[in-house]
């Protein structure tokens, strides 16, 4: 259980996190979504007691991180990949962490086995690829078999195989009743992994909702209809208050009525239907919609670069 209340952090005049409140419950994977620079990592560091908030409060299992009697037994975190001395071996890195919390060397070897680094455990970590670094970070997080786990962008640098591995690992940890909080800017990844999402933009909370609800609530949800008598159906739907758009391919996009209402209306006219398909937006689209106003760093619009220069206004 992680509870943030009014968490605020500014660096100089720049506000990184503002009045952020959310709960991360045990037993589910909670995604922490936001564009780059939205304050995800800063929030994670505040949870871990590495950065001090300017205002507000965050507790882990009801305690401030600083007051945990055995931090590694209670909280495991992957905050940044490759935060390892390049000259130290993977095993030595885990060993020095284990010793602080009286964990055994046997446990070090176990977590190395779990993350698949046993064969390279004695190699210098500086030689590791980004993916191997992520796995070592995972091993460090699992070291104390903690109830609460934080992962900051864990799939960065992993190959598809590794991504699937992380996904299963996170879900498995949550299934065991642990609190799993995982940040990502990849909405598609969270759609597959997270049961619930905390969405922030420019350091502010935008929403905390179950993932499926986020997709359902999105205004992008619509029904695609095809019919030989499409105009007749269009008029009938608009009379019922739905908004419709006739697409270029001849299909009709209906908003404000679900597939059941559209189907029943068509039968009552009657109009033959060739297609009746509910369309839900991807989490990506839902997310873009929510964070539209809060993107910190916009890319330059590319259309102008390649647009024909002649015939301008």
């Amino acid at each position: 259980m992680i509870a943030a209340r009014g968490l605020t952090k500014h660096y100089g005049s720049k506000i990184a996190v503002a009045q952020l409140s959310f709960d991360v419950r045990p037993g589910v994977v909670t995604g922490f979504l936001g564009p780059n620079g939205s304050g995800k990592s800063t929030t994670m560091r505040m949870i871990m007691g590495l950065d001090a908030p300017n205002a507000g409060d965050v507790t882990v299992n009801g305690k401030h991180y600083h007051d945990l009697p055995w931090p590694l037994h209670e909280v495991g975190a992957l905050l940044e990949a490759k935060a390892i001395h390049p000259g130290r071996s993977a095993r030595a890195h885990l060993r020095m962490l284990a010793e602080t919390n009286h964990l055994s060397l046997r446990r070090v070897d176990e977590v190395l086995e779990i993350v698949g680094l046993a064969s390279v455990a004695r190699q210098r970590a500086g030689k590791f690829s980004l993916g191997m670094g992520q796995r070592l970070g995972m091993a460090a997080a699992l070291l104390g078999d903690p109830e609460v786990l934080l992962f900051d962008e864990p799939v960065n640098g992993l190959d598809p195989d590794g991504i699937r591995w992380v996904r299963n690992l996170l879900k498995g940890l949550a299934r065991e009743g642990r609190t799993v909080f995982v940040s990502s800017h990849l909405m598609s990844e969270m759609a597959l992994t997270a049961d619930e999402v905390v969405i922030i933009g420019k350091g502010r909370l935008i929403a905390q909702i179950p993932t499926d609800e986020l997709i359902a609530q999105s205004s992008q949800r619509f029904v695609r209809v095809r019919s030989p008598e499409i105009q007749k159906l269009k008029t009938a739907l608009e009379d019922k208050g739905a908004t419709t758009v006739l697409e270029e391919d001849g299909s009709l996009s209906v908003r404000g009525a679900d597939e059941i209402a559209v189907g029943e209306l068509a039968a009552s006219i009657p109009v033959v239907l060739h297609e009746l398909a509910p369309q839900s937006a991807s989490l990506e689209e839902a997310f873009m919609e929510l964070t539209e106003d809060s993107i910190e760093y916009h890319g330059a619009p590319t259309t102008g670069l390649f647009a024909p220069t002649g015939g301008g206004a």
Binding site: R45, W70, H85, R95, M96, R106, G162, E176
Partner: protein
């Protein structure tokens, strides 16, 4: 490295009057420069290891790994503590009843941190490099100095023979080793910041002053043991090389034991001072520059002061305190060796306390 240093110049003139001394001095400075260069080069090499995309051979990805995480024990102390809560139960039910894990008694503390710091220190190459250089140069340069003196003994003027101090000559190499120990003191702290390990360290042990205390203790003991070993070996080797008719000393000679044991203490305290500097500055290059600057550049600046205040200021400088510790003659206007060491301890404590306060206050 700078071609001359106030301390070495003073020491050199004092110990070996005449041009043999000057030649030796140049040699010593060159060796020191090479040593520091080697350490920094080794350090940079290890930091710049290219990424190697060697495939991980033993991947465990198919089976639900997390289930195994739960089954595996933690340590003998907390073994058989937890079992996975529910295999296939419904999620909301699990959310209501989180598995409470039993924790070991008490709280993490200094004993674990000391072990951890010892592991950190001995599992990086820079430790072996710097300590190796300390031993090699500490003993080697002393051996060269004493052998050189012995070789030219018969052509040395009677006045210079009378003024010859076999104790400080045999300990001259110890002052080269101080740079290597100082670099190690810096790396012990700045290495964590440079690599990001500091965040893992502070996540495992959020009571930051305790982490600093453990670092100081482990590094301090290692530095003291190495420095004392170097001092005693350099002394005995040097005295053995000063065969008759050259004058030599024994540990029983007046001031000899103090000079030998004291120079080890001096290096250890200086190393702790550099650890404090690194805690304040946090960057390797910056902290090493500050350390070397205080030892080598500051004396030159002070020398440029009007002589009325020069002596008053000079005696507070670490290099003069060290020179005074190994010398049996005493420089004009200096503190006694032990008072000097006490002042140096004051510097180290001040740097560590300021560093500790900043460590607690600053974001990691």
């Amino acid at each position: 490295m700078i071609a001359t240093s106030g301390m070495l110049a003073a020491l050199g003139h004092h110990v070996l009057r005449g041009h043999h001394g000057a030649r030796l001095l140049v040699l010593v400075v060159i060796v020191a420069a090479i040593a520091v260069g080697l350490i920094l080069a080794a350090r940079r090499r290890s930091a710049r290891r290219p990424l190697d995309d060697t495939p991980v051979t033993a991947r465990v990805h198919e089976e639900p790994v997390a289930a195994r995480v739960g089954e595996l024990g933690v340590s003998p102390a907390v073994d058989a503590v937890r079992t996975p809560v529910l295999q296939n139960g419904n999620r909301s039910e699990q959310a209501m009843i989180p598995s409470r894990k039993e924790l070991p008694r008490g709280r993490y503390g200094i004993s674990g941190l000391l072990k951890s710091e010892w592991t950190k220190l001995r599992t990086v190459r820079s430790t072996m490099w710097t300590l190796g250089v300390t031993i090699l140069l500490g003993i080697g340069v002393s051996a060269i100095a004493t052998a050189e003196t012995r070789a030219h003994w018969l052509t040395t003027s009677p006045g210079n023979r009378a003024g010859f101090d076999p104790i400080s000559t045999s300990l001259i190499g110890v002052f080269i080793g101080q740079f290597a120990i100082g670099v190690l003191g810096v790396l012990v702290m700045s290495g964590e910041y440079g690599t990001g390990t500091i965040r893992a360290t502070l996540a495992a042990a959020p009571r930051r002053p305790l982490v600093l205390v453990a670092k100081v203790a482990v590094f301090g003991v290692v530095a003291l043991v190495v420095a004392e070993v170097v001092a005693f070996l350099a002394f005995f080797l040097g005295q053995a090389l000063l065969t008759a008719p050259a004058t030599h000393a024994t540990l029983a000679s007046p001031g000899a034991l103090r000079a030998v044991a004291g120079s080890g203490l001096y290096i250890c305290v200086l190393g702790l001072f550099s650890l404090g500097l690194a805690t304040i500055i946090r960057h390797t290059a910056g902290a090493i520059s500050a350390f070397v600057g205080i030892l080598l550049v500051l004396p030159l600046i002070v020398q440029a002061l009007p002589s009325s205040i020069e002596f008053d200021v000079r005696r507070y400088l670490p290099d003069r305190i060290g020179a005074d510790m190994i010398s049996n003659h005493g420089f004009p206007g200096t503190f006694s060796p032990w008072i000097g060491l006490l002042i140096l301890c004051g510097y180290a404590v001040a740097a560590l306390v300021i560093g500790g306060l900043l460590l607690v206050r600053r974001d990691a």
